[in-house]
Symmetry: C2
Subunit: 233 residues, 2 copies
Amino acid sequence: MRGNAAFLPISTEELKAIEAFRIGTRRVEAGGTVIEEHSRSPHLYTLYTGWAFRYKSLSDGRRQILSFLLPGDFIGLQDEFAEGQTHGVEAASDATFCVFERDRLWDLFHAQPKLGYDITWLAAREEKMIDDNLVTTGRRNAGERVAMLLMHLYRRAERVGMVRDGWVPFPFNQQHIADALGLSLVHTNKTLRRLQRMGLHKIDGGWLRILEPHALEALGDYFERPLRLVPLI
Amino acid sequence: MRGNAAFLPISTEELKAIEAFRIGTRRVEAGGTVIEEHSRSPHLYTLYTGWAFRYKSLSDGRRQILSFLLPGDFIGLQDEFAEGQTHGVEAASDATFCVFERDRLWDLFHAQPKLGYDITWLAAREEKMIDDNLVTTGRRNAGERVAMLLMHLYRRAERVGMVRDGWVPFPFNQQHIADALGLSLVHTNKTLRRLQRMGLHKIDGGWLRILEPHALEALGDYFERPLRLVPLI
DNA sequence: CGAATACTTGAGCTCAATCAATCACGGTGG
DNA sequence: CCACCGTGATTGATTGAGCTCAAGTATTCG
């Protein structure tokens, strides 16, 4: 995975420190729970392969997907300080993770400040993505929301080399999209249908293809910058 | 400020490192711009006194307030890696800030890994708050949104000792609230009015008082946990 | 005493929610 | 082989929460 051009190179020493920090790997199949909502996981993870997402629910069951996770994403920092009120993480496709012990995070910072810095970077980068999602649910209408999400997911997947012939794996159903965008299932379906009929994109058999990237970017008022290299923990 | 019971104590050595990291203070009056939207600020800040908020706009002017900032909040990490697409920060009341040089952040991590760890903590804590805001705009209705916001702001202000006789300073107008909650100005007004008529809260002359905290918590399905001590950079 | 800013309220409209079927499809058990 | 599910996608009809438009009412300030 470190061969991937999306990630920052790393020194041998740092790599060793990461290896020492890691306590194993974990495999979760599609639909499986990675971190239970409301429970503070003793582990941190890096997503290694597959798709996952973070979510939170209200007590009557309404669910909001907070962000989608792709290979390289670091998981679990947020509930470092949350007393019980934490997000859940679920695998959207079959997925594999590197597992770390939360209680040893400080040791890592202490031994390798550079890796601490990298983790902060990752946290800040994720916060930026959530900022964008917040603008979406707060101020974009249905068409804009869908356009924005499709471009966002496509660009991120592209970045970590998941595109094959213009298609990226898209293991989400319409309920996922609705929950991410703060829309109802039915209205999500109608909006998706509309954009697809307009020829902007295509979703088929668990794969997504963007047909009119510029139109989608303009509609969503969302332009992903060429992303800088990202550290990989 | 370090006397405030909300903040973690700190060693003399760390304090010295922070002092060295700080390059000055800055005063911004109510309504003034702290960080311009779309411009990467060369500085990081800690809010020292007053209220501020982070926001992002769509190109047609629709604005979303991302989070509110209170004394002790660390500002500017998010655009560490953002190419141009950054949030703006504005002072809601007269406010003062400690100013740090962004380019020396890594030096700080290097010299004092503990402070790096603290900054990561702060970043994770802020991300958690944005997660909550995202649930709000995505899945709560107008009444729930307002209830949630009022309790959230009150609890946080209470925590840093801004309550006087049950009142906290509330330098926001209804447009701010609307932009934070993803509602229109008019509907925000009507909802605020409704809750106030129900006797749940009172806003008067720039001060907020919570009359029925339990009712507001129940309505908003939002229960702030007793917060742990927070590091102060 | 205007002029500007913020708040308030009513009326009507619209986007998106809800309700209610229907359809497609891949199991799976008889 | 086929009837029978269960899940997810799709579509139409209806409803409603929140939007926009339009006026009015404080309040402050030069």
